[in-house]
């Protein structure tokens, strides 16, 4: 508005059509009205001091409060401004969980992160940072921050309640698990039997037998104190052969000459798939003999692929 300008009536046409109630809102409002008419008070959100509200909606604090998506807006009573993004986040979060273990889950996870970061941006940063370039940098920063939180926070949270997940490093026909399937295991009351799938950290699994380590689900074949031998394509435990249909010997172990291992009191012999050549018995021992402290969980649920989703039967 310029100095000297004359204020007059707005020339915009007056809206004469009233707002209407959406059909879906009718039962919800009816329920709330029923509560009110019967004297049931719905508790209101607690009043928070104005300075706390200002603090929540400012820069870094907004990002911190938005670790729980929508919390900052909920506390400052602005949840309506982001509810659609919040619903999107919830959808992507649920879909990510459902498809976890597949390549689609990464796409969904990215969308979830983007919506989460946008909720944080809306909590107060957008009003503070004006330029587009700064906003993009901040958005990327928030995405990276939240990625780290999801990457380490969610597994830690799962661990805290006794669950752990990972990809299978071997194929077990008996329970229809293939290499690359995603499994969940329990970290509580760990005791293993032959045939169990265990989440293990195994070493010496890099290309050309480098000394790298990987974590995944492997099959337990030898138990502590047992003597394990591979002869004529069969596992022989304490001089008794195992059923080759239940416990087939992987090709790379078959090729190792004169494999004969006596396991210690806290050692397990596990089986994982590798596709290299030239392994000898010492290499196999280095990979497959795992101390019990490296076994982190016992698989109980196959999560991906979807067609095989279900609980894993215990070994016979």
């Amino acid at each position: 508005m310029r100095c000297g300008s004359i204020l007059g009536k707005s020339s915009a046409p007056l809206e004469v059509h009233p707002p209407r109630m959406p059909r879906w809102a009718r039962p919800l409002r009816g329920l709330l009205r029923f509560f009110r008419l019967n004297g049931l008070q719905i508790p209101k959100a607690p009043q928070i001091p104005a300075w706390v509200e200002t603090l929540i909606g400012s820069g870094l604090f907004a990002v911190v409060f938005s670790i729980v998506p929508g919390l900052a807006q909920l506390l400052t009573r602005q949840f309506r401004s982001i509810w659609i993004v919040w619903v999107c986040w919830l959808f992507f979060f649920t879909a990510t969980g459902f498809f976890w273990g597949s390549s689609l889950s990464w796409l969904l996870c990215s969308l979830m992160l983007a919506s989460h970061a946008w909720i944080a941006m809306r909590a107060g940063i957008l009003s503070e940072i004006i330029t587009l370039r700064s906003r993009i940098f901040v958005l990327i920063g928030i995405i990276l921050l939240y990625f780290a939180i999801y990457r380490y926070g969610v597994p830690a949270g799962l661990n805290a309640i006794g669950f752990s997940g990972g990809y299978s490093l071997t194929s077990v026909a008996r329970i229809q698990v293939a290499t690359g399937d995603y499994l969940f295991g329990s970290t509580r009351n760990l005791s293993f039997q032959r045939g169990d799938m265990a989440l293990a950290e195994i070493s010496g699994t890099g290309g050309h037998f480098q000394t790298s380590r990987s974590t995944g689900f492997v099959e337990i074949v030898g138990l502590p104190g047992e003597t394990l031998e591979v002869k004529d394509g069969l596992f022989i435990i304490n001089n008794k052969p195992l059923d080759q249909h239940l416990y087939p010997v992987p090709g790379w172990i078959k090729r190792a000459q004169r494999l004969n291992v006596t396991l210690g009191s806290h050692q397990y012999f596990v089986v994982a798939d590798f596709h290299g050549t030239g392994y000898n018995s010492s290499h196999v021992t280095a990979v497959c003999v795992v101390p019990s402290e490296r076994l982190q969980a016992r698989a109980f649920l196959q999560w991906w692929p979807l067609r095989n989703r279900g609980f894993i039967e215990t070994a016979p």
């Binding site: 046409p13 007056l14 809206e15 004469v16 059509h17 009233p18 707002p19 209407r20 109630m21 009718r26 409002r29 009205r33 509560f35 009110r36 008419l37």
Partner: protein, 253 residues
Amino acid sequence: MTRFSSLEFDDAGGQPERHAGEPIRDERYFQDQAIRSCLHGDFELGLRNYSRALECNSHFLPGWAGQIRMLIELGEYKEAVIWADKAMELFPEHPEFLSHKATASFRDGRFDKAMAFSDHALSLDNPGPWVWLTRMEILLKQNRRIAETCIPKAVACAGPETSLIRLQAGRILSRYDYYACAMDLLSEAVRDFPKSPLAWYELGHCQRKLGQRKQARTSLEQAKILRPDWDIVDIESAAVDNRFWKRLLGRFF
């Protein structure tokens, strides 16, 4: 036909051709149509007609008030309050809008707000009939005798709307289960509006509740004749005959 006979020009366009004897479609015309729709029990159409009245003249007070009343009748109380606020931007502190706001709040279970709006409406000059009706509705919850004293006050200041106000008062009493008190008002309403399915239906409902089945059946039959497609009359008729299953299925089919 000349080459340019089919061309449309600004001055001729927009205004439909009007035949001799046809009423002028101004705000009054649409208000009459809206009242007709209300008496027919079709509040959705009533709302549309009030909107059309406002399209003709956006400063037409009865149009705004009618829209709010229709929203209340349709059970859209939150929207009614929003619209009352909007109307009060044009007509600040108007007692009728305040009273409609009070009604919407009251029916939505917000009693404190309703009482406050009603008090405010009564404190203003020249409270109209709708202000007294709202007062009556709010007081019905506390004291029927005091509430009933509001009816003569509402009728006294109703002017040409007296019959409508009587019908509305009867409907309010019936809504809160004061059927015997509502009967007189609704009987008068039926005399004033013999072709109103709404009046016949309300009368039939009260008669059924008071156990006057024969009279109720007759009233509901009249309502059905006047508006054959009105499902609510079928449900009420089924209730008169105590046809439980028909009544239950009538809600779905």
